[in-house]
């Protein structure tokens, strides 16, 4: 639908009014998080006006520095005004701190205290990590560098060249370590734990994956590797060690022919991993369907490779967890679901209730249950009628009400009830529901809970902030808030 020029200009004016009200409220709030929610989307002048609220008091600066949910733009600016060491330490620990903030902290702070923190932070700029990798002698810092998911392969290679034994296993664990570095580590050590990690690594050189190691730990790791040759995997499937056989059967690269004998392994853990294989042939599935171990039957009943006729048998299993697994099988036939929805155990009924492919009649039957697990499943089910959801939305059990909020089909009228739920987490979840209208969210801007307000402010900041033009900046600066306009904001 195209809007007339006058309605479009009214919409812009309305957006500006709402944006200005949020800015005014954030500036007058007794906590800094509302302002932090607006800051990333505010214009330059509006940012200046928000900054006293954000960074004026040390207490607020400390709160923001350790808040992981605060936007990187806020933390970046905070780093530039950080004037004490505690604040810098908190920023260096904050997982959301961006590279610019961490670089600032490194330039201004006491390096001995910050080095291990920045060495561990995945957002630390590469040049700082490289500097630490080459120069630091502090073992804690080097360990942190080796454990950092942000460390690049060349930095890790530099650390490896320092030949510090205690770092070798950490280097072999880091996903960024490249093949040549792993090979250098292999040659530098005969330590079983380090070699095992190398064999497990995705960049492990092919040459290392061709021989059968003597150590059970190394064999276990080579058995798990996706590039281990099939012939070697077939040999490992007959290994004397249970852990090695289990790792081999769990490896999708192991040929099916090699795991036939594993169906009859004396160790139930091996049989469980066979039962979980997605490429399990029907004949092997049939062998496992009557296994004496409950877990084998449970795992098999959930495996998409398990055929319908075996599901029929498992649906009559005496163990309720096996029947529950049948109800969770992705291709469980409708007739079985109907039968399981009448199961004597509510735990089995609950598994049925959580399925998205239920016939409406089954949903209606389950909705008559008094069990909260079943009702939570019904509340979350997209087939549940709105009238039933309305009743569940006022259920005394918080889990049931939360399920209704998590249902993407819950209509707006019911969400309007749930946005007043006593449990703050529920209100926070309701803010993000796609069927809640902005008019409803706008009425939540006074919510007593900080996390709910933060989400509301953040939602509108993304919408209104970019649309606010220089007029908005000027209005904010001069505190022009016509009272009549503010009252009308209730009808966004």
């Amino acid at each position: 639908m195209t809007r007339s020029p006058s309605s479009s200009s009214r919409s812009v004016a309305s957006s500006q009014r709402h944006w200005l009200e949020l800015l005014r409220r954030a500036r007058g709030s007794d906590e800094p998080f509302s302002a932090a929610a607006l800051y990333p989307d505010a214009g330059p002048q509006q940012r200046q006006l928000l900054e006293p609220r954000l960074f004026g008091a040390r207490r607020d600066r400390l709160l923001l520095a350790s808040a992981a949910f605060v936007a990187p733009a806020v933390l970046e600016r905070l780093a530039s005004v950080a004037d004490d060491e505690t604040l810098r330490v908190r920023l260096a620990r904050n997982p959301s701190a961006p590279a610019e903030a961490l670089g600032q902290v490194w330039r201004d702070g006491a390096r001995a205290r910050l080095a291990p923190l920045l060495a561990r932070h995945p957002n630390t700029p590469r040049e700082i990590l490289a500097e630490l990798g080459e120069a630091t002698t502090d073992l804690d810092t080097l360990c942190a560098l080796c454990e950092n998911t942000g460390s690049s392969s060349d930095i890790l290679a530099t650390v490896e060249q320092r030949r510090i034994p205690v770092l070798q296993r950490l280097l072999a664990v880091n996903l960024a370590t490249d093949g040549p570095t792993l090979m250098a580590l292999w040659r530098a050590t005969d330590e079983e734990a380090v070699r095992a990690q190398i064999l497990l690594h995705q960049h492990c050189p092919d040459a290392l994956l061709r021989a059968l190691p003597a150590s059970p730990l190394e064999r276990r790791c080579i058995a798990r590797h996706a590039r281990t040759p099939p012939a070697l995997l077939a040999e490992l499937a007959r290994d004397a060690e249970v852990a090695v056989r289990r790792a081999t059967t769990a490896n999708p690269a192991t040929p099916v022919a090699a795991i036939v004998a594993s169906c009859f392994d004396t160790d139930e853990a091996v049989r469980r991993t066979v039962a979980a294989r997605r490429d399990l042939p029907i004949t092997l599935a049939a062998c496992l369907a009557d296994d004496s171990d409950t877990w084998v039957r449970r795992v098999l009943a959930r495996n998409p490779a398990c055929p319908s006729y075996l599901l029929e048998r498992s649906a009559a299993d005496h163990d309720l967890e096996v029947r529950r697994s049948v109800a969770r099988h992705p291709a469980c036939p409708e007739s079985l679901l109907d039968r399981l929805s009448r199961d004597a155990a509510p735990w089995v009924q609950a598994a049925v209730a959580y399925r998205d492919d239920l016939p409406p009649a089954v949903v209606r039957r389950l909705a008559r249950s008094s069990d909260v697990d079943v009702l939570a499943g019904v509340g979350r089910n997209p087939e549940t009628a709105a009238s039933r959801l309305a009743r569940l939305a006022v259920h005394e059990c918080a889990d049931v009400r939360r399920a209704v909020i998590l249902n993407r089909q819950t209509p707006r009228a019911i969400l309007r009830v749930l946005r007043q739920d006593p449990y703050p987490l529920h209100r926070a979840l309701a803010v993000d529901h796609p069927n809640l209208a902005d008019a409803d969210r706008w009425r939540m801007r006074d919510d007593p809970d900080i996390q709910v307000r933060y989400r509301v402010y953040h939602h509108f900041a993304r919408q209104l902030g970019p649309a606010a033009d220089a007029t908005g900046d000027a209005a904010m600066q001069h505190e022009q808030y016509p009272h009549a306009a503010q009252e009308k904001m209730e009808t966004i």
């Binding site: 040390r58 207490r59 400390l62 350790s66 505690t86 330490v89 908190r90 620990r93 073992l139 360990c143 034994p165 205690v166 070798q168 296993r169 330590e191 079983e192 734990a193 380090v194 007043q420 006593p422 449990y423 703050p424 919510d447 007593p448």
Partner: protein
């Protein structure tokens, strides 16, 4: 009938913090405030009696000793259904200990004359675990600590409580009322305040009293009425414990080396 629920605004700390310049407390910039966890359960137990059979005439009064900021915790209690909220404060109470707080609360209890007094077993910040029982001593009332279950008929002359003891054992105790009970976590499931309750609580008055208004003599107020004084608050220096990094073999070798060093053999 009246139930007096004594509450406390407690402080929690982040991982890094600084000690105040005088070295006797944490820098307030690093403190986060909240209602003591145990007090949620105490209030809920009072509300359970009020909303249960025969509880229509029960008046739930929450009280605390604390500065302005403690109003926030009192309002949380009002939002959950408490009938009245009382805060006692004066500058003299700034550095009082748990006993001096008990003296204030006991004076308030004499004025309010409740049929039952509920307190939390302890506060999560200072963890004295003393206020409730000291108050009972000052009032000369029957008392039971660490109450995990309460059976009481509103207006009754006695209550039966289940006390949590060592080693997972319980004691069932009959206690005459009025009585002071300190309630344990898990005695009930505390409610969340409704939005309407929170909005209404924001408008409701909080009665502000000072110790003099309660008729307390000067030698019982604040530090004069305290039996202890914090001399120094500090983070102990790190001991000799250390994490041994490396592979199992490296860890074993390092451990052996440490033992040898300890024996003077290395």
């Amino acid at each position: 009938m009246k139930i007096l629920v004594t509450i406390k605004q407690v402080s929690s700390l982040d991982e890094d913090f600084e000690i105040r310049e005088d070295g006797r407390d944490v820098d307030p910039d690093f403190l986060l405030h909240d209602l003591n966890e145990w007090d949620n359960y105490s209030l809920e137990e009072a509300m359970r009696l009020k909303e249960g059979p025969g509880g229509a005439d029960i008046e739930v009064v929450v009280a605390t000793v604390g500065p302005d900021s403690a109003d926030e915790e009192l309002r949380k209690c009002l939002a959950k259904g408490a009938d009245r909220a009382i805060r006692v404060w004066s500058d003299e109470l700034e550095e009082c200990d748990a006993i001096a707080v008990s003296r204030v609360l006991a004076a308030l209890a004499r004025k309010e004359a409740p049929g039952l007094i509920f307190a939390g077993v302890q506060a999560s910040d200072h963890a004295f675990g003393a206020t409730g029982m000291a108050m009972a001593g000052l009032l000369g009332l029957p008392h039971a600590a660490v109450v995990a279950a309460l059976d009481y008929e509103p207006g009754g002359k006695s209550a039966t409580v289940r006390r949590e003891l060592e080693g997972g054992t319980f004691a069932s105790v009959r206690i005459d009322c009025p009585a002071v009970l300190t309630l344990q976590l898990g005695i009930n499931t505390p409610r969340y305040a409704s939005l309407r309750g929170i909005k209404q609580a924001a408008q409701r008055p909080i009665e502000l009293l000072d110790p003099q208004a309660l008729g307390m003599p000067a030698d019982e107020i604040g530090t004069a009425g305290s039996l202890s004084r914090v001399r120094r608050m500090y983070v102990p220096e790190k001991g000799r414990a250390q994490m041994i990094a490396g592979t199992p073999a490296e860890q074993a070798a390092r451990l052996a080396q440490i033992i040898k060093e300890f024996r003077g053999e290395a």
